[in-house]
Structures are given as C-alpha cells and as structure tokens.
C-alpha cells in the first residue's frame, strides 16, 4: 500500500526530533574524548554498568511476568471500577520518583509492615540490596509495559480470540497462540519502554535501595555522584548509557516492528 505522510507534518516532526536529538548530540560534543576510555572503564563505572544491565533485565522480566497479565485483565475483563483500577497503575508515573522510593521504604523498610515482617520472621532486609533496586525499578517501569500493552490489546480487538475459541482453544491456549503473537509489537515496545525506564531510574532507587558500589549503585546513581565531583566522567558515562539504550532499542525493534 502506498500512503503519503502529509507534507506539513514534516516540520513539527523534525523539530520534535531535534528537541530530543540536539541535547543528546550536545552530550557527545561535551565528552572529553581523549580521556573517554579511561573515564568509562574505571572499576566503579564498569560495576555500575553491569549492575544497571542486570537489574534492568530483571525488571523487564518481572514487568512482563506481572504487568503482562495485568494488561490482559485491564483490556479484556469487565471488572467493575476498571477505570479506577487502571488509573492506579499509572500512579508511579506521576509520583516524583523520590516520593515513590519513600512509599516503598515505608512499606518494605525494616520498620514498615511488609519489611518488618520479613525482617522479624526470615531476617531478610530489603533495602540496601540488589533486590531493592529491582523492586524500585519494577515499581516505576511497570506502568510503561501495562499501558502500551493494554493499548495494543485494545486496538487488536477480540475478534481473533473469539475465532480461536470457536476452534476449541481454551483461554490459555488462546493467550499463547493467538493473543501474544497478535500483540507482539505492543509487547516488544512495552518491554523496551520498561527496560529503558529501568535503565534510567534514579530517584526511587536511591531513596529506597541506597547507593553502594556493586550492590545498589546503578549507572544513573553513579553518573549523578560523579557529576558532583567530576563532570567529565559523568558526561562520558551518560554517553555510554545512551549508546547502550540505542543498541537495545535498535536491536529489539528492527527485528519485530517492521
């Protein structure tokens, strides 16, 4: 099919892209290139990068495992009060991340209702652990997956699921063999959004999980700290973060969206 993008859209589209691209390009200009390699390969920087990738991946998986079902329920069930239930899911988006971290701390901290119970009964302390990082990231990243996936599910409609049912497919079979493949683009872009958001998460992590090299100090925390003392290092690592994100996004999206 040949359709045309109206010509007058190109100008605002280009401006929008430039608004995002130029500051990022500015970052590239700002980098202290002669020392770049040295700046980004310090042990602390590498530890932060590794932790960020690991926790980002874990977050994405958790978002899929839990947020995926939630999106299906939101898009397909007819629970009473659905608009309210849905809007609660969006709250981590509006909550300033620091406040989000605080609420997690109130709940899972050593004196909070859940954290206190875990501490007393099992001796498990959540804050200051890598698990806390994943929890904080999942809290802020979940809405991304849920919203994009729910949108995709709604746009795709239920027609194919109805057909599958008339062919004898149980709801579970229908889910795996029809729903998931049909909304795959939405699932992919939702996952990418969630991963990206986890990769950039700062406020909730530092408030809830703390900042300890190798355990809880993810790349954004590292960059922020670095920026206090060594702006060059911070800029260099920001660029690394940007490159990692671009790689992840390009790889995951070129395969499945086109």
């Amino acid at each position: 099919m040949r359709t045309t993008v109206p010509r007058f859209l190109w100008v605002p589209a280009a401006l929008a892209w430039l608004l995002v691209a130029i500051p990022v390009a500015g970052l590239v200009v700002r980098v202290d290139w002669p020392n770049f390699l040295g700046l980004v390969t310090t042990p602390s920087a590498l530890a932060a990068l590794r932790l960020s990738l690991e926790t980002g991946l874990a977050t994405m998986v958790l978002c899929l495992l839990f947020g995926g079902p939630l999106a299906v329920v939101l898009a397909r069930s007819s629970l009473p009060g659905l608009p309210f239930i849905r809007s609660v899911v969006l709250l981590p988006l509006v909550l300033p991340p620091v406040v989000g971290g605080l609420t997690l701390l109130f709940l899972f901290g050593r004196t909070g209702p859940v954290g206190g119970f875990l501490d007393r009964e099992f001796g498990i302390t959540i804050p200051f652990s890598t698990g806390a990082v994943v929890l904080a990231q999942t809290f802020v990243a979940m809405p991304f997956l849920v919203v994009s996936l729910e949108g995709a599910l709604r746009t795709a409609g239920e027609r194919y699921e109805a057909v599958a049912a008339t062919l004898g497919a149980s709801p579970a079979t229908t889910l795996w063999r029809v729903t998931v493949p049909v909304v795959l683009p939405g699932l992919m872009s939702g996952s990418v959004l969630a991963f990206a958001r986890a990769l950039g998460e700062f406020g909730a992590t530092i408030t809830f999980a703390g900042s300890l090299e190798g355990t809880t100090r993810t790349l954004p925390l590292f960059i922020y700290l670095e920026s206090e003392s060594d702006l060059d290092g911070a800029v260099a690592m920001s660029l690394v973060l940007v490159v990692v994100a671009i790689l992840v996004i390009v790889v995951s999206r070129t395969r499945d969206l086109r």
Partner: protein
C-alpha cells in the same frame, strides 16, 4: 560579622532579588526572606533552592540569579572560576557532623567507633559529595573504617534511613538533626571538627546581577544580627 540590617533603603522602588541557595538552607532562608522583605518594603525575595552543584552550573550557564549561596566552597569555586562571582565569596557559617540515631539512642552509640559494631547498620554520604568528604575526614581522624550499608547522595538520604529505622546510625550535620524536630537524636563526637570535616557556607554576588546593591545588602542581612540568630537557631556555627 556586620550589623547593618539594610533598613536604610526604605525608599527604593519595587525590586526583586533572586537568591540561588543550597537546599539545606531552605527553612532558614525562607524565614530570613520574610524578615528582609519587611525590612525593605517594595522588595521581593525569590529563592531558587537546589543542589549546590546544579546551582553553580546554572549560574555558570548564565541563569539570572543575584546571589549564590552554596553549601560547599568547592561548588562556589566552580562559579568563581567561571568569573561569575563579584569579588571574593565570604564564608558566613559552618556546619559540623553529628551521628544521627533513633530517639533515645537504643543501640547506645556514643562514638564513631560504635558504628563498626556488628549489628549496627550505618549509612554515610558518598565521598564525592560534601557531607561524604567530611565523613571521610572524620573517619580518618578517628582511625576507623566504616562499612556503610549505603553511600547516600545527600544528607537527606542519610537522615531518611535513620528516621525510617532502616539504619541505626548515620553521619549528618547538626542542622539536619535539628530540622527533624526530635525525630532523630544527634550524638556529637570529637572528630567532627577535624580538618576537612567541617562544611562551610560561602555566599557571593553573582556577576552581572541587575541588583548588585540589593544582593550585597542580602549578604549583609544574612551576616547581620537577625541572620546570625536564625542560623544559630538552626544549628549553624556562624562566623
């Protein structure tokens, strides 16, 4: 410090003074701002609170502030080196460390040494930020090595941990302990006044300010009677 309250400028036309100040100065400055306005009718003081580093960067990038008051000499130096401060900034207050613990000090902590006891969860600021550098200096002076559960970005983070019971002790400033109104107890320790452990609060007039005279009178006001009183009230040591 001086005692000129700037009350001689009553006839001045309506003017706005923009003060970029470290977040830890929020309550003191807000209180002083009201008093300054009362003393200088027709003047409005606007505050831009934030991290010292951001504030310095903003000034360097030409943000239209009149006064820059950071929470460390190093960040002030950023602005000075960029030629953004008129003359020499002055240090008008200092702040020193205390060990923040839960009210009534349930773990019985009395010294830096106690923070290394097993079962005591401690937190400090990261060495890269001023309060962390101070903590490091104090540690060195005391000859102890802490193994903190977390190296926080700022004092507030440390305080938060102690306040919510997630940490048993944390190194923060006296002013921070005061600001909690008793939510945490401060334990003083001798190494707090060691070389490099004391935080200083410099202030200066931003180069290119449209209100350089008003800015200067704000500095004088902060260093004056009312300013000193308020700062001391908050736990600062004034100079």
């Amino acid at each position: 410090g001086g005692s000129d309250s700037g009350s001689g400028q009553q006839a001045a036309p309506a003017r706005t003074l923009t003060v970029s100040a470290a977040a830890s100065l929020t309550s003191v400055y807000q209180q002083l701002g009201t008093e300054f306005q009362n003393a200088n009718p027709g003047t409005t003081v606007k505050f831009n609170f934030g991290g010292s580093d951001s504030l310095a960067q903003q000034v360097v990038q030409g943000a239209p502030a009149d006064v820059l008051a950071t929470a460390s000499s190093k960040t002030m130096q950023t602005a000075v080196q960029a030629g953004k401060i008129q003359g020499e900034p002055v240090v008008y207050a200092t702040n020193s460390l205390q060990i923040a613990v839960a009210p009534n000090n349930p773990k019985g902590i009395t010294s830096l040494q106690d923070l290394t006891k097993p079962g005591v969860v401690s937190v400090v600021c990261a060495p890269a930020v001023p309060c962390g550098a101070a903590a490091e200096a104090a540690e060195k002076a005391a000859g102890v090595t802490l193994t903190p559960a977390s190296e926080e970005q700022d004092v507030k983070g440390v305080l938060n941990r102690v306040q919510t019971g997630n940490a048993d002790a944390g190194l923060v400033y006296v002013t921070d302990v005061k600001s909690t109104n008793g939510a945490v107890t401060g334990v003083s320790f001798p190494q707090a006044s060691a070389q490099g452990a004391v935080q200083s609060y410099p202030i200066g007039v931003v180069n290119g300010s449209q209100n350089a005279d008003l800015a200067q009178s704000w500095i004088n006001f902060v260093r004056g009677q009312q300013g000193t009183a308020a700062l001391q009230q908050a736990g600062f040591v004034t100079k």
